[in-house]
Symmetry: C2
Subunit: 290 residues, 2 copies
């Protein structure tokens, strides 16, 4: 389907995309670039990329598909760096967890070449990062959200849908703003809560003792708190308005529970717990929207 | 080791204990009672118990070990109901997630027989409940916290340690108050946050759409929100003082994140995220206390 993938950012997300594309026979050659030369070197040693590029621009040279897998705050500088080699035939995608800021960055940097860029967010991740954890199956069975804008070329959007579908993903399109509102609620907020809870415990004098007693519920609840700090710094900042709004709604819900506890209102508490429990018990990951 | 287990409450926790005791060859016969006759009947059909008892008192008759696996708020009434058949040779344990209230209930109800009771909290659970999910391996490899008091008989405490150790658990003893403070932080608070977050999302007009987009991070973070509403109603109420204190500390930590986001203080945010991420990445479930 493609001759050459230009991969910018050879970490978990980028490396896994390269492996998946090769495994599916969708690309012949992967040319990779990472900010850190040791990462690029390691990616080649591991067979994640075929050729090391000395710059982002040179990773794009000759590519017919380009994936940006860099922290979202680096999107604009990266797009500026590659702009002169972007062609209308090229499909460029990112994998960032926020989309309104990525689209803004693309508008500012790509200008006449904006139509080649299809903003993408595959709903997957690991609590570990780095090319060592790259996995050809990371995207398999997951949802991918595309957030095209008015200037996105139809041909590129269709190619993007075909690529992710061929990797075993279910593809959904929505506006960048709808995407960011939804993911503030179901991804960025849970991360924020898990990060804050970890720091709340370690800030207590008995924190280490408490942690030594924690069991499987804590393990699963806090798994996402091990996420990459730089990546999450960028996400929390770039989607802060939606996230702060979700955090306020969450705190209102928390206060409702606290009030019922303070009043000893067992019936109200049970009603609220039943709503939460039934909603979660019936939820299925990736179920089709009504 | 024991002749007869009297099981009061044949749900997930009680049923799993019965299966584990039999599998380990630690008990010959299990006599079970549940408030709902259909549960007791089902437990016998599934081979979880050998004999159905028509009352809690009759489940205790002839037993040398008794396990209470009922919601914590039912502890006092249950102990009162069985008190007349409790002997100094009998080992009585519970599996409740809160311990100060259980000890108070035991003091009020057991009186002269208090020494036979060893309060226990195995750190395990599932997001499902009911005897159908009983599993002989539920306790294997988990921690069990015992919270003996000044009147607990040494012989019973030692027997309790031996039983859980034989089931593959690591046993730790502490005061009921220390237990409740620790589990407010690492178990009850995460549950409260997960419940509140579910209700915060479902309370929004786009809540269903948001949920349809949620991925593996959300799945793991909210797994505990599917917990049994009646069980969690009792836990949230019985440990409410410690839990409300933990909730306040958590909200302070959350506000620190929100302030850094509002100010756009990227360095401070990254520092806080690094602390949380490194703490979680180095945490190991069940690691020995320093």
């Amino acid at each position: 389907m493609f001759e050459q993938l230009g991969l910018i950012g050879c970490g978990l997300m980028g490396g896994s995309f390269a492996l998946a594309m090769k495994k599916a026979g969708l690309v012949k050659r992967v040319v990779g670039y990472s900010k850190s030369p040791s990462t690029t070197d390691r990616a080649r040693q591991l067979g994640v990329i075929d050729v090391e590029a000395p710059s982002a621009l040179l990773a794009v040279a000759g590519a017919d598909i380009v994936l940006l897998a860099v922290p979202v705050a680096a999107t604009e500088a990266t797009l500026k760096a590659i702009k002169h080699l972007v062609t209308p035939q090229m499909l460029i995608m990112d994998v960032g967890s926020t989309k309104a800021d990525v689209v803004q960055a693309a508008r500012r940097s790509l200008r006449d070449q904006l139509g080649s860029f299809v903003p993408a967010h595959p709903i997957t991740g690991r609590e570990v990062s780095g090319v060592e954890h790259a996995d050809a199956e990371l995207y398999s069975g997951r949802q991918v959200i595309l957030t095209p804008i008015e200037r996105t070329l139809t041909a590129q959007l269709q190619k993007a849908e075909e690529v992710w579908t061929a990797l075993g993903c279910r593809v959904t399109s929505m506006s960048p703003e709808s995407h960011d509102a939804a993911f503030a609620a179901v991804s960025h907020l849970p991360h924020l809560l898990a990060f804050a809870m970890m720091n709340s415990i370690t800030g207590q004098s008995n924190g280490d003792d408490f942690l030594s007693l924690a069991g499987p519920g804590f393990r699963d609840f806090t798994r996402i708190a091990a996420g990459d700090p730089k990546m999450w710094r960028d996400i929390l900042l770039s989607n802060r308005e939606e996230l702060l709004a979700q955090s306020r709604l969450f705190q209102q819900a928390l206060h409702t529970f606290e009030q019922a506890m303070e009043k000893g209102d067992a019936q109200r508490l049970e009603d609220m717990l039943t709503l939460a429990s039934e909603t979660r018990a019936h939820w299925r990951m990736g179920a089709k929207r009504k």
